[in-house]
Amino acid sequence: MAGHIFYFLIFPGLLFAGVGGGLLSWFDRKITARVQFRVGPPLLQPFYDFVKLMAKETIIPSNAAKTVFLLAPILAVAGACLSSVFILLPGFGISSGFRGDLVVVFYLLMVPSLAYIIGALASGNPIANLGASREMKLIIGYELSLLLVLAAIILKAGNTISLNEIIAVQQQQGAFIGSISGMLLFIVSMMCVQAKLAFVPFDIADAETEIAGGIFLEFSGFTLAMVKLAKYIMLLVLPSFVVVILLGGFRFEGIHILWSVLKLLGVVLLITLVRNTNPRLTIGQSMRFFFIWMNLFAIIAIVLAYFGY
């Protein structure tokens, strides 16, 4: 029991993922700034943001469902922490003895988005409601693609739904991205990650210049700090997930430590570059993008994986 609480709160849960995600958030912001000829924030800026928000007043809209509105961001953080435990434990080679974690992770990764939707709907703000409806549509769009990706991974790993075994298979036979189907899966999963992180071109639910922050509009002070924390954690968790299922996971011996960190940074760099070289899509366009193109790619990848390519 104590071990589980340690996993959840310290490593690789809340504390580790929060700090690691904050640093990755700095990396993302710094790269963005350099691409745009700006100087960029200092290393600890994400943490300054968090601490400052914690000290600010939390405003609760008068027509909000108070309890739900306040609890939703905490739910988001809890979901993000749990998914970080389930992804990073196998990622670091610690066996939890649980063999169905791929399925659990699939559901847990959805929790922060659902929590934002609940919070936005509870705030009673029409713009936040609009953002929530957009987020729902976006989830409907990308979840199927992600599910197809996971199906292909299961097929490639020899019908196992344990992340530990998926990593073990990759470390014996080489990372899945080395095959044609693996590359297709990488493209699809990166797009799903982009959408899950709500980065351009899929920042439709909180489009600042359209609906002024959308689902995050009414969050302030403590609740906004929680949303930020959940986002930091997800910025660590989702790229790690891609590394685990497609890039051979992490290894912590000798030169492999550097290699593991580079893999993670590489994925984050790719996400950052995509977000800086694209305009925002509309919700209709992004749903079409996932339903037609990403699903098509994923299905082709499944077929290729079935025939062993």
Binding site: T32, P126, T209, T282
Partner: protein, 402 residues
């Protein structure tokens, strides 16, 4: 009636930095109707001008808008010179044209950046504004200010361009040209930008004529209007250039028009500098002793369209009536056509596409008593007030003759 959601864009909204309110009546994501309100920033410039001398008015109208801060003095100078029957020296004409065209370049680059920001493409935003920076430096070299250049006066300009600055101007423009070309290619060849901007917020030729829209908004819909050519002023008849017109009328077409106009402006400035270089340094203004009684209209093509100034004078040293019409005032009304039926994402883009400038457009609609919350004056009352005032003015001015 089915209940509809109102999505407010403004009075304070990240889309546009100025205070204005658009009420988007939405059915789901689709905008079914739009209402707009400005007047949050009304400063009563026309009234202020009645208490200023003509020299001071230039500085006031320059501050109507920070971005097109030469168009208003330009139009006012045109109006005053019509009243005083002044012939401006050629050298002053060229300098005026250079300033106005530099302003067009910086304003269009600014719009490109903002448009990028509006569709979430912040890299374009930062890059466009970086490439706009040399233009502002150039302004500082020529006029001493990055913005609000204080160059205009009745009968000429206040500062001459130094002979050794000619090469600097050409050098900076040479530097801007490839960068603007690169930016144009990056924007115009990007398939994702096509997805977001083509076929969005279409204004047909008829819509433009119905709403009397002006400037790049009209030219992007195939309406060939440009005050620089239609009502020639300053050095525009003396140099070679062409009016850019496209036919589609969507957001993409407006972007194309603005990009191509940047290159036209660069060419106009280069020709003006060449002419200045050929002519020996000479007069940059004529002395205007007094302004006779009369009235005059001045027009100028601002980056956003036609600026119109109408001035009535009575022989004293300040205007009796000064009427200003900024281009956004007519362009903003086209939102009724361009936004209705679009999704919210596209409607906000269509709002931005006419490059609206609200501080030019500010009109006061209601006056409330702050304590009792009673309406003291509304739009109709204000119009009546203004009509009474115009009648009194007319009586005082022309009553003796009629």
């Amino acid at each position: 009636m089915k209940q509809k959601t109102i999505i407010p864009v403004g009075p304070y909204h990240p889309l546009q930095e100025e205070p204005e309110l658009f009420k988007l009546f939405c059915d789901g994501e689709i905008v079914t109707d739009i209402e707009w309100e400005t007047g949050y920033n009304h400063r009563g410039i026309e009234k202020i001008n009645e208490s200023k001398t003509f020299e001071q008015v230039f500085f006031v109208v320059e501050r109507i808008c920070g971005i097109c801060s030469t168009s208003h003095p330009f139009a006012f100078a045109n109006a005053m010179e019509e009243i005083a029957q002044v012939k401006v020296p050629d050298r002053a004409k060229y300098i005026r044209t250079i300033i106005a065209e530099l302003e067009r370049i910086h304003s269009h680059l600014l719009w490109v950046g903002l448009a990028g920001h509006f569709i979430g493409y912040n890299t374009v935003f930062m890059w466009a504004w970086k490439y706009r920076e040399p233009i502002l430096d150039l302004f500082e070299i020529i006029t001493g200010n990055r913005n609000s250049y204080a160059m205009f006066k009745i009968g000429g300009v206040r500062r001459d361009i130094d002979e050794k600055d000619y090469s600097k101007i050409l050098k900076i423009l040479d530097g801007v040209k490839p960068k603007a070309e690169m930016l144009m290619k990056a924007v115009i060849d990007d398939p994702v930008i096509h997805m977001r901007t083509k076929g969005i917020g279409i204004l047909t030729k008829q819509d433009i004529l119905d709403y009397c829209a002006v400037g790049p908004t009209a030219r992007a819909s195939g309406v060939d209007v440009d005050i620089r050519r239609d009502d020639p002023y300053a050095a525009y008849p003396l140099v070679n250039w062409k009016v850019i017109v496209t036919q589609e009328g969507d957001v993409f077409a407006k972007a194309v028009v603005r990009f191509l106009e940047i290159f036209e402006s660069i060419s106009i400035i280069e020709q003006c500098v060449e002419k200045l270089r050929k002519d020996p340094p000479g007069q940059i203004d004529v002395k205007v002793k007094n302004i006779p009684e009369g009235n005059g209209a001045g027009r100028a093509e601002a980056p956003r369209g036609e600026v119109f100034h109408y001035v009535i004078t009575d022989g004293s040293n300040s205007p009796v009536r000064h009427k200003i019409r900024a281009p956004s005032y007519v362009n903003v009304a086209t939102f009724k056509k361009s936004c209705v039926g679009q999704t919210i994402s596209d409607a906000t883009l269509a709002l931005a596409a006419v490059d609206p400038c609200y501080c030019c457009t500010e009109r006061m609609a209601h006056v409330y008593d702050s304590r009792t919350r009673q309406r003291v004056l509304d739009g109709r009352g204000l119009i009546q007030l203004s009509q009474q005032r115009t009648q009194t003015l007319k009586k005082n001015l022309f009553g003796k003759n009629t």
